[in-house]
Symmetry: none
Subunit: 212 residues, 4 copies
DNA sequence: AATGAATGAGAGTTCATTCAT
DNA sequence: AATGAATGAACTCTCATTCAT
């Protein structure tokens, strides 16, 4: 995505970064199947030999992409959702908002994420980066679910371990299936119904949100 | 998975099939990234030129795999789950059972499915096969959700369109993230809590299931 | 040396042979240091991919050259020397004549032999072909030395094991140092003086040879 | 063989020397085929660009190695052999002792010598260094052979020109074929028989040597 | 229907060399 | 004097595809 013209002032770690970014963009555009070191070098505006100066092998470059993705994944967030009165529900809603945000503004991010995760099935080096990322994500969800229960907003009998796994699975599947922003919003409604202590409570929360 | 030894009596459409199956196995084993026509031909026990006699290009072969997958996906099912008294809940439970079944007995099926779906992002020919497959699946879920509502087992206010999408997303994500059979069973509990008209009703259903 | 134009009638084992010969010529011309598979393929009049169809790796090609050399080394001989009355002396003289012959008519043969032998220091696969070749050669010399002793032409106290080793070393060194044909003839005189039972006997033999 | 750690106090001509020595070691270890300027620079503990500051091209570096070899070849000697009473025979015996010495203690020296000599076939710059070296060596042998004749120890009819060539060829061949120390000693016995005026004389010489 | 042989294009990687600093 | 960064050219090897048989 980011076009990178040759720039003599860029050097060292910056050049590494620009190569990783170029590789990232190439993967986003054509998947691993179509990833060519020459294209990456070209996109970064350097010679193919320069790529190998920074990354001895293609694998090393891909590992660099995985790390880069991890950093971007953590850094980016969609617009904050309006409060429902429950910090927990807000937070989970935020996850959906982020997914919409990625889908709309950074489709490459989720594309590369999916590519890496699928490749991770056969590449332990990638698994070592991606699995913790997803694990960390799920753990965060689980923590907020506990908060929601303490808040008295979520069901008492919610199994936070299974629940967070289900939540992550659903969001992952939605990303994988490339659901539209509208669909994402719709299914969040159902997620709310699943989590909230009562339908009545949900309604009161929603009203507060939509009529502030 | 299916070992295919060269058999002189096999001819015509059968040879096509054996090539598609070989390609399927290759994709299951190494993904698209590692798919080599030579490996496919070898696995099918024929010459590489023979492969090209039946499939002019690699793309055509892959399209064949997509169609083959569609047929297998519909045909296979896991062991039937025990009845909960609700045909609808049974059916959705069956979906989870099938996912477990694929995961355990036919990991190649879900692997190839995931590969194809991801590739579909860049390949309209594949999308044309995979998207209807998933759409058909979701529609089936939606129909059963309606039945569940009519049965009086599922919540009245369940949005069957969003609900079926959420259900499919969750199951797809679970497959993609390679959740264990145990985890799958756990998250189905939460899916039940989400769908059922009341927690009490769930309990009564569960009791009937576990103590028949 | 042998230019090889693309010839559709050439196929199978013949093509292998033409590739080996081309590699042989390349090594003769530029040593291992300058051996390029592309040059070999070009010289054989085929595509580089064809070379790899017959020889999966460069190493395999080199092994083929070693075997080819072994066969040529055995097959070729210089003009037969005039008899001195001693079969043994004639035979050893013949060895020198062969060396002259190689030097004059097949300089590539000795060049490749030297290259292979030097490479053998680091390449067991080559040693396995070259060492037996030299060993076989030395054993032949040793046998003839024994004959010479029995004939009464060679010294009684000649140590045939050390002697044959010395003989081979000298001839190998002479080849390596690229001695001229004239020099080779001269040093054979000294070899004769070393081997023969007496100087007188040598003279009488030589007279018989030069004045038949 | 000579490990050369980066030393800031080393400069100018010394740095050149350390690079040449590093190149020498690399050739000894892997031959010309495997000679990489980067490895040489690394071994010398300097940057690859520094190597090119001192040697504009790889060829120049190799030429430097050839000269370095010439200097080392002259400088080194094996343990002095016990006297046989003949200075000439002692000297030739010393040559064999030196060959054994090189073989045992400085295998790199003979390895590089062989590599250079073989490369000299295609590289006039190397020939210009190596040929005089061997010529000088042969001339020395020839001088000692003359001394041996004057001493009355060597045969009167010994052709010192051919003889010295034969001697050098044999020793060169022995080195090339990597004869063991034992074999070298054995073949020297035969060399003695070839050179000495009579077998009786040899025996008397040997007795004097072994029972001093 | 089936194949062995052949290939053009291109893959990842290497290497001697250069250049700004 | 010395170097990190950069590169063009070339390397071995691969692969989908073609073609004569």
């Amino acid at each position: 995505m980011v076009e990178q013209e040759r720039d003599p002032s860029v050097a060292g770690e910056d050049r590494r970064q620009s190569l990783v970014r170029a590789a990232f963009d190439c993967i986003a555009a054509g998947g691993f199947e179509g990833l060519r070191t020459r294209s990456v070098a070209e996109r970064a505006g350097v010679n193919i030999a320069t790529l190998h100066y920074y990354f001895p092998t293609k694998e090393a470059l891909i590992a660099g992409v995985a790390e880069y993705l991890a950093s971007r994944f953590i850094a980016l967030h969609g617009m904050p959702v309006r409060s429902t009165g429950s910090a927990a529900l807000d937070c989970l809603h935020q996850e959906f908002a982020d997914a919409r945000f990625y889908h709309a503004k950074h489709p490459d991010l989720s594309a590369v994420m999916l590519e890496l995760q699928l490749r991770g099935r056969r590449d332990p080096a990638i698994r070592k980066v991606i699995d913790p990322l997803i694990g960390h994500w799920r753990a965060g969800i689980e923590r907020w679910m506990k908060v929601g229960i303490v808040e008295g907003v979520f069901r008492r009998d919610l199994d936070v371990s299974a629940g967070s796994t289900l939540f992550v699975s659903a969001l992952w599947g939605a990303t994988s299936l490339a659901l539209s922003a509208g669909k994402l919003e719709q299914i969040f409604e159902e997620v709310s119904r699943w989590l909230l202590a009562s339908a009545a409570q949900l309604e009161s929360k929603r009203n507060r949100r939509t009529k502030p």
